[in-house]
Point group: C2
Chain length 399, copies 2
Amino acid sequence: MPYYIGDVIKDSRKLVARTPEKFRETGIEVFTETRVGTVDIKEQAVLTEDGKKLPFDFLVFGTGTRAFTPGMPGEDREGVFVLKGLSDAIRIKQLLQDTPCRRAVIIGAGFIGLEMSEAFREAGIETTMVHRGTLPAARWDPELSRPILEEMERHGVAFLPNTRVTSIEPGSDCRNRLNTSAGPLEADIILLALGVRPDVDLARESGITLGPSGAIAVNFAQRTCAENVYAAGDCCESYHRVSGRWVNIPLGDIANKQGRVAGSNIGGDPMTFPGIVGAQSFKIFGLEAAAAGLSEREATAAGFHPVSTILWGNSAARSMPTAKRVGLKLTADRGTGKLLGVQAVGEAGAVSRVNTLSAALWAGMSLEDVAYLDLAYSPPFGGAWDPIHIAAQGLLRKL
Amino acid sequence: MPYYIGDVIKDSRKLVARTPEKFRETGIEVFTETRVGTVDIKEQAVLTEDGKKLPFDFLVFGTGTRAFTPGMPGEDREGVFVLKGLSDAIRIKQLLQDTPCRRAVIIGAGFIGLEMSEAFREAGIETTMVHRGTLPAARWDPELSRPILEEMERHGVAFLPNTRVTSIEPGSDCRNRLNTSAGPLEADIILLALGVRPDVDLARESGITLGPSGAIAVNFAQRTCAENVYAAGDCCESYHRVSGRWVNIPLGDIANKQGRVAGSNIGGDPMTFPGIVGAQSFKIFGLEAAAAGLSEREATAAGFHPVSTILWGNSAARSMPTAKRVGLKLTADRGTGKLLGVQAVGEAGAVSRVNTLSAALWAGMSLEDVAYLDLAYSPPFGGAWDPIHIAAQGLLRKL
């Protein structure tokens, strides 16, 4: 009989299923509120902390990530949150409902911090983002993260760059006071949005090999170093088709795919996960931001000789009233002429162009192919020369 | 000294440049209002009807297309138009300004007819579309052209399917009366939107070889059968990367690319046009329609064994208020599992998905690749499983 070991909230040792009854109906035994003590790979059994021994033929680690917290004094105060799981979201909503919240401080400028800045502003809360770097959205280069910052500021998000946080203590004006290298900030709600780390404690203690990224090492079948043990999702690595490296990019779509591949292999239907190209996107107020492939820094680290171009073009033909500016950065390898990466930001058309180029990256296309790619042209959706073509042709001249 | 032979309005024998002065400034001699009588390929000279002899080292045919007209009585009446060139558009606009137009009839249900039905409706004109087929937009299969028809009807366009036109005569209630197999239709303006044919008379008379499509045969360098004679744009063929056939698909983006390739080769910088995948799109009221690759019929004709699936999914994650329904039809080859074609229709997200799959078609991807393609997932722009993935996985099960 299969056990459900999957939807883990906050702590990988606590097995929680959202609807245990639904699983039981399909013949899957579910243990909620149950912490795993040890996994005995040789004996093929999971030992729970409350003394149950669950033998297995196959085991899947789907332990996900933990939100990173800096470990500063006052992190555990009321009104201080991470946003990792559903329960965090519920607790944040509850606080906003139960108590008056005038000011929020977000520490960190990644996906979660950015998306939450919009959510806070829409709830009418004064919002400040504190970031140790210069610009938000580190995955995007300055030419494109600057417009992201401008969009945030246009919508009333204050941004404190190059700022370190040191401690949280009781506030005078608001519930909490965050002490930073730029002085104290009062806030009713403080969100620690400093990224996540793969939750691999249990796997490591079980003797499962981790990869260089710190996540669980798997092969193309999602199998770990142990014969009958698989891993899928944010806790494990993925093969990056552009860099040829195994990386940890915790995203929901990758997790979904890997889970399916692991399940198929366990069920006896051999299947491989063909890897990723690092495609990702987010929305911030009226702006789309998307990226795929490698940044210049990543490209250099992978041994390529990157050369890039930035183009500001139109999402539709210039003659169309619906046309919006879209910024497109392409990176290619000087040696081979291969496309290595793309970043895009704009009010419209950024995600769609990155998706098109994700397919190009997946296929290992050269810049010459990209420069003459056949796209579904009509004026409401692009120019006869799309920004993709113009950027690729511009970059070809630099090779 | 180069002569400008290019922007031809209505008749390929009339050389018209929009801004002859601009061309002359760059050292290009322009002959407007000048008809070419013959081209002597051996002598390397163009002879104009008014007696000029223009010798050339290189010649480019950029003669485009002519609008097809059925040749029925009354076609030349006032208020009867084709829409091929800028001058046609100006004359139609002029008529709408100068005389009251209450009713329009459009004959034909392709791109031009569809787009003009929206333009007429927006000008407040009662609009009827007469079509010899059952559904509009023949490039799209019935599952997707039916929603296109519904969108038109929702916006007040009357559609007469399976109807043949026979003649145009003076109307009683309106300027003209169109006689059809479904009875007479009164209209102030009648648009013949029955498609275009490559304008190849001059090329054929010069001894230039035409391809099986009836358009000028060219090689990958855009060269015709004659050493120094090139052709680019709607008047010539393109290599279709999916069917492996040379086809004539008159679209502005293809013409732009081919013109650049021809020019580069003539200028001494060797270049090839890598071909097309038949990507195309149009907007009709609130609907996007796009397609790429081969339809089932085209796939069968090319020797494939097509199998298709239709999926109605969401343009964004289902939880997002911005999510719209998008219909996606994928066609693959039963023998090789290769993706052969895609069609999409929806209020949002149809063109972007076709563009992503255009890149996949360009690269010759298999359905297995498409089913696990890495796309820039976030809820405002798609589900963790995009309609692309779901459709491809569904189709994989049918192979």
